[in-house]
């Protein structure tokens, strides 16, 4: 529907972040309706009074209540955030991930290197590169830019990470079991100059056997 | 001035605490510097208020809850009316900065304008 992105959550982390979003959304709608309701109430009630209303200047207990309750609410949201963040930001030791992908951003396309198999997928102004990933695998991404700041965003990951010149950034995901192709959905999400708009790539999640074929088809040595 | 002193001191204290927390969670040098400098500047103003204004005597009418207009009659201050200095000085300052990309001739010209306007302002003050 209106809040459903084109790609379903493609990683376990994405699913967690999606679930967290639903919690926040419900909370936001509830508070929004409460405030809207209060405004409607005061507007409707305010029309029928006459003379000078009670000139009340403060009511400490109520004021403390509407300080404390929001404080508890954001405290709870913060706690939930940290729980999810723990999984999203986690990175395991180098040798326990299934796949490493090196992402290089340049003005104005992407290069994906699969060091274990030697595949290099480079985008051009005419042709988008494809980022293929094996379902069910733990993948670490290592990102760097050769010029300005870019940002690697796959909406299906519910996640993006900036690419900096001179300093690598990393993140790790556990790909889910949903396979499919989402062409033209990977985008650059940090304004990087003239053709920032067209710095896009294709995303595909393939069953492990298909992923092998994909690598071999691009001149690689197959998955390790 | 007491209330103002507390505002500034409170601000300074807040930044000291914030800076220590940020340091404790592994904050980066730029942020730490900015926060501690904020504390220092707040402390500077609070210190001036408390130090320099300590000997001021009776509270000012503006700080007294029971004061009223008749308590403060007389000359409140000097408020210069029309003056060309601001426009001229602003133009000079603009030229100084704009000359950095445009050319040093503009910066030099701007400095000349700024210097002359400052001199005129000082002369105005002496009147």
């Amino acid at each position: 529907m209106i809040a459903q992105p084109p790609a379903p959550p493609l990683t376990e982390q994405a699913q967690q972040m999606e679930d967290l979003w639903n919690v926040f959304l419900i909370g936001a709608v509830a508070v929004g309706l409460l405030v809207a309701g209060l405004v409607v109430f005061v507007v409707v009630r305010g029309r029928r009074r006459s003379d000078l209303p009670l000139q009340q200047r403060e009511h400490i207990p109520i004021e403390l209540a509407y300080t404390a309750i929001p404080l508890l609410a954001v405290g709870a949201l913060f706690a939930l955030t940290l729980v999810v963040l723990d999984d999203v930001d986690a990175e395991s030791a180098e040798d326990s991930v299934d796949l490493v992908v090196e992402v290089t951003g340049f003005q104005w396309q992407w290069q994906f290197r699969y060091p274990a198999s030697g595949v290099v997928e480079t985008g051009t102004a005419e042709e988008r590169p494809e980022l293929a990933l094996p379902a069910g695998a733990t993948v670490r991404f290592e990102l760097a830019s050769v010029d300005v700041i870019h940002s690697f965003w796959i909406p299906g990951f519910r996640f993006k990470r900036d690419l900096f010149p001179g300093a690598a950034t990393t993140f790790q995901v556990d790909i889910g079991e949903t396979t499919g192709a989402w062409p033209d959905t990977g985008v650059c999400a940090e304004f990087c100059g003239l053709d920032h708009t067209t710095m896009r790539f294709d995303v595909a999640v393939l069953a492990p056997a298909d992923f092998e074929q994909w690598l071999i088809g691009r001149g690689g040595e197959g998955a390790p | 001035m007491k209330a103002e002193g507390w505002l500034w001191a409170g601000g300074a204290a807040y930044y000291v605490v914030l800076g220590l927390i940020y340091l404790g969670v592994g904050g980066e040098p730029a942020g730490l510097a900015l926060v501690f400098i904020a504390a220092a500047f707040g402390g500077l103003v609070a210190g001036w208020i408390w130090g320099a204004r300590r000997h001021d005597g009776a509270p000012r009418p503006k700080d007294r809850a029971d004061a009223d207009a008749p308590d403060q009659v007389g000359v409140v201050g000097v408020y210069p009316t029309a003056s060309l200095r601001p426009l001229a000085l602003g133009t000079g300052m603009t030229a100084v900065v704009l000359g950095v990309p445009i050319g040093s001739w503009m910066t030099i010209g701007g400095l000349a304008i700024v210097a002359s306007q400052v001199a005129l302002l000082v002369r105005d003050l002496d009147r």
């Binding site: 405030v35 809207a36 009670l54 955030t81 900096f164 304004f191 | 009223d68 207009a69 990309p101």
Partner: protein, 597 residues
């Protein structure tokens, strides 16, 4: 002395002022007058008019953006031009419209609200205005250069904004403009703090100042803290561009992320610098049109202090996706800032709670602010969570969020301020019919334009793109947003008509047409030269309300009646109250004070 029956009459400021000699005030009448004025009222009007002109420029740029984005494909402009369009749109709106309008309010109203004849440093004040205007013109001058205006986004991140990333002169002009407007703001803040600290009227303690003045004071604290940081970052950037330094050049030991820390240490407080004056505006308007005092004055001051402090503690929430900041710290402070903001919202609702509401145009816009701003605040809480921000950062969801919070404040509350204080500035009213139409169109247009952007961002549309693909499915929502922006443009027509027709009327010069509360309504409309030669006693944050209810001891602030009596005893010149009120008056106008005896 005989006992006099209590007089239930309400006293108007106009009656009091009518009994006094009138010193007409007014804005400069000649060009030279405007070029040399140091009067805070003239400068306030100059800031307001100039910022509204820049609003038109920023709005035009937004219109071009919306026309381009309505359908997939590049129809209107090429990418390079588009990049300048959104860069200058954002820069104009933030630096040349929103903050300067706040200074318009501060300039015009702070002296009037605290009973001062002008700001503390009138010539410095004028200098601030000229630096603003000149800086704005320099920024727009970028469009006249070969390479076009700056096109690196209003944050100007290096290396994109560095010498290799953006080699054109337009970029340097933008940086120069930021330095000039930043200096303008810093000097203005100095003026406001000095004025509020040293020029309040007798009896106007800090805790009797109107909330608007409090907010302008705390806005100035923030400006003093963060504008110089921006200026420093800009000087470093310009040095990289012109003098061969490498502050932000990673190939030579520099650090792009350093720029981001410096920029956002300024950039986040900047949005509160923009918002706080408008929180103050509605804190003046709700009490007047609900006929109740502002609810929880001390709580509001504390909340504003908390917002001021916290807003300078959250900056790296704009950098969550860089993988280089302490996520829990900034998430915590960002969540926390929602609490005092919520307190303010509840205080405003409570002000109206058992109020008798008058739905004049300022009140309509105040209600529009409340609803819109809360919407933006709720999405802000979502963005405070890095776990959600990883998906939402740098997308149209953020664009929606900040337009909602900025829209609530700098659009709705701004028009509330204009309709509310117009009679004080000009001595005339703005048409209620036209104002109501203006409000209706603005509200509808605003929601239509920006609500869909939440979904666009969630669905995958990043910021600052000139185009999107058919496959994205973004076209429908983009078209809705574009049509909405058309309604926004149309909404300015009744506003323009209201301004023109009002200025063509003869002035009525009512000092207090709204039956309002704070001290500016005790000055004539427009205020006389140097504002006041007579002040009511100040025993609460509502001195004019206290004058109006002077004959009702249970309603006016405690101590007001005693102050009047003390005036009669000390100097009858200060106590001309018509009628025979218990507090004494000068009903027969012979200057001798006292009731009928």
């Amino acid at each position: 002395m005989t006992t006099v029956a209590p007089d239930p009459r309400l006293v108007t400021v106009d009656e009091v002022l009518a009994a006094r000699p009138h010193h007409p005030g007014g804005l400069p009448a000649t060009l030279v007058g405007w070029l040399t004025t140091t009067d805070h009222k003239a400068i306030g009007v100059a800031y307001a008019v100039t910022s509204m002109l820049f609003l038109a420029v920023g709005g035009l740029l937004a219109g071009l953006i919306r026309v381009e984005l309505a359908r997939p494909g590049l129809q209107l402009v090429d990418e390079a031009t588009y990049n300048s369009l959104f860069t200058i749109h954002g820069s104009v709106m933030v630096f040349l419209f929103a903050v300067p309008f706040g200074f318009a309010l501060a300039n015009y109203l702070v002296p009037l609200q605290i009973g001062a004849p002008d700001l503390a440093f009138p010539r410095l004040n004028a200098l601030s205005y000229w630096l603003y205007l000149l800086g704005g013109l320099v920024m727009l001058g970028g469009f006249l250069t070969d390479g076009g205006a700056a096109g690196f986004g209003w944050f100007a991140y290096p290396p994109l904004s560095g010498p290799q990333g953006s080699p054109g002169l337009g970029a340097d002009l933008w940086i120069v403009a930021i330095l000039l407007t930043g200096t303008s703001g810093t000097l203005g803040a100095v003026n406001v703090v000095a004025t509020v600290s040293t020029m309040r009227a007798p009896g106007m303690t800090l805790f009797r100042m109107p909330i608007l003045t409090w907010n302008l004071l705390l806005t100035s604290f923030m400006i003093l803290l963060v504008f110089p940081v921006l200026s420093g970052a800009m000087i470093m950037l310009e040095a990289d561009r012109q003098f061969g330094t490498h502050f932000f050049d990673p190939t030579a030991g520099g650090s792009p992320i350093l720029f981001q820390h410096l920029f956002w240490f300024f950039g986040h407080p900047e949005v509160y610098i923009i918002a706080l004056p408008f929180f103050g505006v509605v804190s003046e308007i709700f009490p007047v049109f609900a006929r109740r005092p502002i609810f929880g004055y001390r709580g509001l001051v504390l909340a504003t202090l908390a917002i001021t402090a916290l807003s300078t503690s959250v900056w790296a929430h704009h950098m969550f996706v860089t993988d280089q900041v302490v996520l829990p710290f900034f998430a915590a402070t960002s969540f926390l800032i929602a609490v005092p903001t919520g307190v303010k919202v509840f205080n405003w609702v409570a002000t109206m709670w058992t109020g008798r509401l008058r739905f004049e145009v300022p009140m309509l816009f105040g209600l529009g602010f409340l609803v819109t701003f809360v919407g933006g605040g709720l999405t802000g809480v979502m963005l405070a969570s890095p776990s959600l921000d990883f998906h939402l950062s740098d997308t149209y969801f953020v664009v929606a969020h900040f337009h909602y919070v900025m829209g609530g404040t700098v659009v709705f509350a701004l028009f509330a301020a204009i309709y509310f204080w117009w009679p004080k500035v000009t001595g005339r009213m703005l048409s209620r019919t036209l104002g109501t139409i203006h409000f209706g169109l603005l509200f509808v247009g605003f929601q239509m334009t920006f609500f869909v952007m939440h979904a666009l961002g969630r669905d995958g549309m990043p910021r600052r793109v000139a185009d999107y693909a058919e496959v994205d499915g973004f076209a429908g929502m983009n078209m809705i947003a574009t049509v909405g922006s058309g309604v926004l443009f149309v909404s300015m027509v009744p506003f323009g008509m209201a301004i023109v027709t009002s200025l063509r009327q003869a002035p009525t010069n009512d000092a207090d047409p709204w039956a309002a509360n704070s001290l500016e309504w005790a000055a004539s409309s427009p205020p006389a030269h140097h504002n006041f030669d007579w002040l009511p006693p100040i025993r609460s944050e509502r001195p004019v309300f206290d004058v109006r209810w002077i004959n009702h001891d249970d309603i006016a602030a405690p101590g007001v009646a005693a102050a009047w009596n003390a005036r009669r005893n000390k100097d009858p010149h200060w106590s001309p109250i018509p009628g025979n009120g218990a507090a004494g008056g000068d009903g027969d106008g012979d200057g001798d004070g006292g009731g009928r005896r």
